[in-house]
């Protein structure tokens, strides 16, 4: 199957054919994925300048796409993201690959589980986390047609089947005992882990703005205001907007994600890391059982 990155590249190249506003800035990563084009600029290994150059392209009237591996796009040039796009009030599309730990043999240097949490410190960013390559094209087309700031988080991790891309949460399954929110590539794991639980499962590709109304409506339909967030990045990243959405409802909220309390010094496979963070089916199912399961277990 075509990877999310390849769909991203194909979609950008297709849009560039008829939209002369679109320009791409790269820092070596994915340089061979794009065909040579005057509006595809590889700045070399210069991530700070890459983000500044993207902002300058926006100032000149273009729609910049700034792309590299997640840690080098978001963490290294974070002040450029904050000031050159946000403080200047410029639009742009930042697109990362690598996810939280797509390729763990590289270790911590190539992991960025904190990326979405970092964007939460900046106002005005839309954050999209597709869970399937076929969801990438509509997300990228929409981003290129807009004027504002978006972060699109691509990954090698994916669900077996795509879902229609919508702004808010999609109800994939309905149940009575509570609500599980599955972000992007976590959906299949959540569906398997909740197979025998009587819960609503909401699927999210757009995580910012957070669909507070969608969560609230699902909670209102359930017997209990119990919510489990399952995100492929830092644990509890969406706990703040979820708690705000339920501010006037007595509720329980639990968050699963990449653990915050330790730097995991291990290589192996992405699946090994899922299990270390309790983000595999076993780990998520255990959390589901504790929260929504047998009355004794829930006590």
């Amino acid at each position: 199957m075509t990877s999310m990155r390849q769909v991203f590249v194909d979609t950008v190249e297709d849009v560039m054919r008829h939209d002369p506003r679109v320009a791409v800035v790269l820092a070596e990563i994915s340089r061979d994925a794009f065909a040579p084009h005057e509006r595809v600029i590889n700045v070399g290994i210069r991530e700070q300048a890459m983000v500044g150059v993207g902002a300058g392209l926006a100032l000149s009237g273009l729609r910049p796409v700034v792309h590299t591996y997640a840690p080098f796009l978001v963490e290294r040039p974070f002040e450029q993201v904050k000031l050159d796009f946000g403080h200047q009030d410029l639009g742009g599309v930042l697109v990362s690959i690598g996810g939280s730990y797509d390729d763990p043999v590289w270790g911590r240097t190539h992991q960025a589980p904190g990326d979405v949490a970092l964007f939460d410190t900046l106002p005005g960013w839309t954050v999209r986390v597709p869970g399937h390559p076929e969801e990438v094209a509509p997300i990228v087309r929409d981003a290129l047609a807009r004027e504002d700031r978006l972060y699109i988080r691509l990954s090698l991790r994916q669900n077996a089947a795509p879902h229609p891309v919508v702004e808010g949460f999609t109800e994939v399954r309905r149940g009575a005992r509570g609500v599980v929110v599955a972000v992007g590539p976590m959906l299949d794991t959540v569906l398997e882990a909740t197979g025998d639980a009587d819960v609503t499962v909401l699927y999210a590709t757009t995580v910012r703005p957070f669909d507070a109304a969608g969560l609230r409506a699902a909670v209102d339909r359930a017997d209990r205001a119990d919510v489990l967030l399952v995100e492929p990045y830092l644990e509890g990243t969406s706990a703040h907007p979820a708690a705000e959405a339920l501010a006037d409802v007595p509720h329980r909220l639990r968050s699963l994600g990449v653990r915050r309390d330790a730097e995991l010094r291990a290589y192996g496979t992405a699946e090994d890391h899922d299990s270390a963070h309790d983000l595999d089916v076993l780990g998520v199912a255990a959390a589901v059982r504790r929260m929504f399961g047998h009355p004794v277990a829930a006590a």
Partner: protein
């Protein structure tokens, strides 16, 4: 919003006083003043009624701290009502200790954090070139600001891309702690820039430096301001 009244260089001290009070030499000590005046008076193809014209020249003030000279020149050139200078740094003033493009007519970038303006200017010059526009992009940085590594990323990139409508003005008052052996211009030349080093108080020399031909490559003008130098 364009302001009708325009002033000459002789009005600058009075405009400065509206922000800084009666400190006699404040205006004369501003290291960027002559550079800014020459650019806005004689070099840049800009005007207050064309701030959104895609073909206007761009001036990006990267060295955004101590922007009084910038505000004074913008007021003298009709971008700001001079009375706005009286509100400088007040709660609801558009004029802060760092300029904000969202708040001030004619300000191209919000600056103050060092090392941002030059990479943004490279992107702007590149974007204008990609769109076939002939507008030039000027960016003003300080010599100490060159300590920031982001500038060196941008200097190398601009040289390699041959951005011949990009001009960097380095106001060099020797304020960098570790300095630049051999002079600031060398750092640019090695990356393929054309360079001129001139007296930053000599308006004729600045004008000649800014308007020289530099086909196929970007231009750096190092405007030297020596310590304690006053008009």
């Amino acid at each position: 919003m364009a302001v009708k009244e325009k002033s000459g260089f002789a009005e600058i001290p009075a405009l400065f006083r509206r922000m800084t009070g009666d400190e006699k030499h404040e205006w004369a000590a501003a290291s960027t003043l002559d550079v800014l005046w020459v650019l806005y008076d004689r070099v840049l193809d800009v005007s207050p009624d064309r701030v959104d014209d895609p073909d206007r020249d761009r001036f990006l003030l990267s060295k955004g701290h101590g922007p009084m000279a910038y505000y004074a020149v913008l007021a003298a050139k009709g971008y700001l009502e001079p009375s706005t200078l009286d509100t400088w740094t007040a709660w609801d003033s558009p004029l802060g200790q760092h300029p904000d493009r969202v708040l001030v007519n004619g300000v191209e970038i919000s600056s103050g954090s060092l090392g941002h303006g030059l990479p943004i200017a490279v992107g702007t010059a590149l974007g204008l070139r990609l769109q076939g526009r002939t507008a030039r992009t000027f960016v003003l940085v300080g010599d100490a600001e060159l300590d920031e590594g982001s500038n060196h990323e941008a200097i190398a990139l601009a040289g390699r891309l041959g951005l011949d409508r990009l001009v960097t003005v380095v106001v060099d008052n020797a304020s960098g702690t570790h300095g630049w052996p051999g002079g600031v211009a060398k750092r640019f030349e090695v990356e393929g820039w054309q360079s001129s080093t001139v007296d930053g108080r000599d308006q004729e020399a600045l004008h000649a430096a800014f308007t020289q031909e530099h086909p196929g490559r970007p231009l750096v003008v190092v405007a030297e301001i020596r310590e304690g130098e006053q008009r």
